[in-house]
Symmetry: C2
Subunit: 217 residues, 2 copies
């Protein structure tokens, strides 16, 4: 698999989680910042290699083989992110870009030894699950802070959006994975929330709440 093919498979994987019936050509093009015609070309090639099942105009889905490949790429990406944060002391907003390159390093032995070196983590620095060597991943009962019930105790377990801007905003507000959160009130007008975050009361917009994953404590 070339780097380009791997990037397509990875994007199709992520889009599949949202639209499992079939991923649109345009959606792929959008994610990869390329043109629909380029996507069509690549889909034919990936179909040839039996990584996706594709029929003209009908969208695309991953085959078993493609699904497994995708999970292995995601595994590599997320393990490298853990390495960068836990071992090299990068901050969580810096690691995505570097992991985009590291995820294409080929050796399976490397990634399994890295996994061991990191003590087999189940989640990456943004709270996303890391597939194990078999491709299995832990699924936890998480939902968005915007859906929280008032006066209930939650823990922050992930971010929906991993952009540098959002992550740096969270740093500024002292919100991190493991932070405890209780929603005290929700403003009618703009759905902004007043929350108790690790025993400090702060106010956050609905846009923020819609990008933070929590679970019950």
């Amino acid at each position: 698999m070339t780097i380009s093919e791997e990037n397509y498979i990875k994007v199709i994987y992520h889009l599949s989680l949202v639209s499992p019936k079939g991923v649109n050509t345009n959606a792929i093009a959008g994610m990869l910042d390329t043109k629909a015609s380029s996507v069509t070309d690549m889909l034919k090639k990936l179909s040839e290699k039996e990584l996706v099942s594709y029929q003209k105009y009908q969208g695309v889905t991953l085959t078993e083989k493609g699904f497994h490949s995708a999970k292995m790429i995601v595994r590599k990406h997320r393990l490298w992110e853990v390495f960068l944060v836990d071992k090299l002391n990068f901050s969580w907003d810096e690691v995505h870009e570097i992991a985009e390159e590291l995820e294409h390093i080929k050796s399976e032995k490397l990634i399994n030894k890295l996994d061991e070196f990191l003590s087999f983590p189940s989640f990456d620095p943004h709270g996303d699950p890391i597939p194990n060597a078999k491709g299995e991943l832990v699924k936890i009962d998480k939902f968005l802070l915007s859906e929280a019930i008032l006066n209930t105790d939650y823990v922050c377990v992930g971010v929906k959006n991993s952009s540098v801007e959002f992550l740096q905003y969270l740093d500024k507000q002292n919100i991190s994975l493991g932070s405890t959160i209780k929603v005290i009130s929700r403003e009618e007008f703009d759905s902004s929330l007043t929350i108790i975050l690790n025993s400090n009361t702060i106010s956050i917009s609905n846009k923020i709440a819609e990008n933070l994953f929590i679970k019950v404590q």
Copy 2:
């Protein structure tokens, strides 16, 4: 710089150390397992980018800029090798191939943090010097075991040949970096040596001796 360009620069760097007056097109082609015509094409491009100075039929040398780029690639390669051996417990015969991929990861911050994580090593697992962030490298007074003087105490400090076969032979003979070596006798007929290796007496061929670097103890 593309991966291909980086590979050319790296090969020209290594060949320059042997033939500093100018590197031949064919020599580059041999190292990269490609054709002379492809090399000519690439030399034009690298010359365009001012990474090499090149004039037709006269061989090629690195410019200051190209020389620095080469050292940064070598730096990355060798630091990753240290990581693989020291942190992930790879053996020294497995790491070259993986480092060939890792050396092309772009982030400078990554490599400097990795350097720090590894405590700023000066040598890689094969005894080759690692350029620091400025491109400087430690030069030690090493020579080949085949040139050793009888009954003198030496330490093994490197290998000239990093092939899997040679490294595994050394493992089998318990020869590693840091091993103490004293040559007791040299056979007239085939130049094979009888040596005391960490207080055990063994015999090695001239071919082996010509690929082991030592320094005076």
